[in-house]
């Protein structure tokens, strides 16, 4: 066989895939190299002959059937693979611009909504503290003081004993606390506590009024009120809560 180094380029020349310089060089070479020229002429003749080949056409019905089958391919959803990566790509990695804008809008709106919810929620909690909540420390304190006072009052036998109890008790301070707690309880709509504090207030007021001029009958009267109001029982159940 011919070993001419230019020969492999005959194919490029045949298919017109050579650059101008290479084309010129090879054309010049063909003028001087008989072997290459003969081969190239034969290639060219063969190529021209082959270009006359006409591929037979498929039958019309076959072509129609083929096109129909291909249409089914994209019409049948189950045959089209919707992989998770495709969905991630479609919605997160490379969404179309309108989709991206909508996504940003949703995230923005969500941010605003959460912000506002947190704000109103927090404000509500805050206002509750200011307006509605009962100061439980104060209530506990008040209840234990009131219990002690009412126990003492119930157990005293003489007006002298009672006077000692009253001297040791700051009745005015207790009445102030009672008023404050009653306000809080009514703001919280806590009917039970409000009524209870009402009862205590009545007793506290009686004790405050009789301060100084206390008779045995008055003591018995107050003790009766305490007994009738079942206030000690209520106090026990309140303390249990």
């Amino acid at each position: 066989m011919n070993q001419c180094p230019q020969q492999h380029m005959l194919v490029d020349l045949l298919y017109n895939e050579l650059g101008d310089t290479d084309k010129r060089l090879l054309t010049t070479h063909l003028e001087s190299c008989v072997n290459c020229r003969t081969t190239f002429d034969e290639f060219k003749a063969a190529s021209q002959q082959l270009s006359m080949y006409k591929r037979p056409q498929p039958g019309r019905s076959q072509l129609t059937n083929y096109h129909r089958e291909l249409k089914k391919l994209t019409q049948n959803p189950s045959r089209f693979s919707f992989s998770i990566t495709a969905l991630v790509d479609k919605f997160i990695v490379h969404p179309i611009l309108p989709l991206r804008i909508v996504e940003y809008a949703i995230i923005f709106a969500l941010g605003i909504w959460i912000g506002r919810w947190e704000l109103t929620h927090h404000a509500a909690k805050h206002s509750k503290m200011q307006l509605g909540a009962i100061d439980e420390n104060m209530l506990d304190n008040f209840l234990s003081n009131a219990e002690m006072l009412l126990l003492d009052v119930s157990n005293t036998e003489t007006e002298g004993d009672l006077r000692e109890v009253l001297i040791a008790t700051n009745l005015n301070r207790m009445l102030q606390k009672n008023t404050l707690l009653k306000e809080q309880a009514s703001q919280m709509n806590n009917v039970m506590l409000t009524n209870f504090l009402d009862d205590i207030e009545l007793i506290l007021l009686e004790l405050a009024n009789c301060d100084g001029t206390l008779s045995q009958s008055e003591l018995s009267f107050i003790q009766q009120i305490i007994k009738d109001s079942h206030i000690m029982l209520e106090m026990k159940s309140l303390n249990a809560i």
Partner: protein, 192 residues
């Protein structure tokens, strides 16, 4: 046009079936003819073409835009056609009792010639077309693919290299050998 195709591919990759449908419409006939040129009959060519589009559709997410969509699609068709040829060859081998390798090659060609064409299809073919098909069919696999892509599908050598996944120099060599053999066969045909 090229930009449009890239857009269609992108949409198809995002799961847009209509976009893939448009790609099918664009290439359906070219793909059918390529399969025919490689396997020599339209029934099998149709199977191969449909299968190629199905594979392309299911694998479109893996398609990287390094090559053009058509090159990628052509490669699928070429590979399916090669697989088909191998399976046909294996079937023929199984049906022939202990043939020698030369006998086998000869019988294979004969059986292929007889079976791949329906009787009326053969008579419809002109002598020249029939002969060209036969001699192209006798070319070794890669030479045949390179020749078919260059002559019948107007692909240049770098494109063919991408389809065959080889260097352009290898394609040049395939084409050189192919055209040399075809030249000889055509001379014989003219003499007869």
């Amino acid at each position: 046009m090229q930009e449009n195709e890239r857009e269609l591919v992108k949409r198809a990759q995002q799961g847009d079936r209509r976009a893939f449908g448009k790609l099918i419409q664009k290439y359906q006939d070219k793909i059918l003819y390529l399969a025919y040129d490689l396997v020599g009959n339209y029934d099998d060519a149709q199977d191969i073409a449909q299968n190629a589009f199905l594979r392309a559709m299911n694998g479109i997410h893996a398609f990287k835009a390094q090559s053009s969509f058509s090159t990628w699609l052509y490669r699928i068709v070429v590979n399916l056609s090669i697989d088909y040829k191998r399976s046909v060859k294996r079937k023929k081998q199984l049906s022939i009792d202990e043939p020698t390798s030369d006998d086998m090659e000869q019988s294979y060609k004969e059986i292929l010639n007889e079976n791949d064409k329906l009787p009326d299809e053969i008579t419809e073919l002109k002598d020249f077309e029939y002969h060209v098909q036969r001699i192209v069919e006798t070319l070794p696999q890669n030479q045949r693919v390179a020749f078919v892509l260059r002559h019948y599908h107007d692909m240049d050598m770098p494109e063919i290299a991408k389809v065959l996944n080889c260097k352009t120099g290898t394609v040049r060599s395939h084409l050189f050998r192919a055209i040399s053999k075809l030249r000889t066969s055509l001379k014989e045909f003219e003499r007869s």
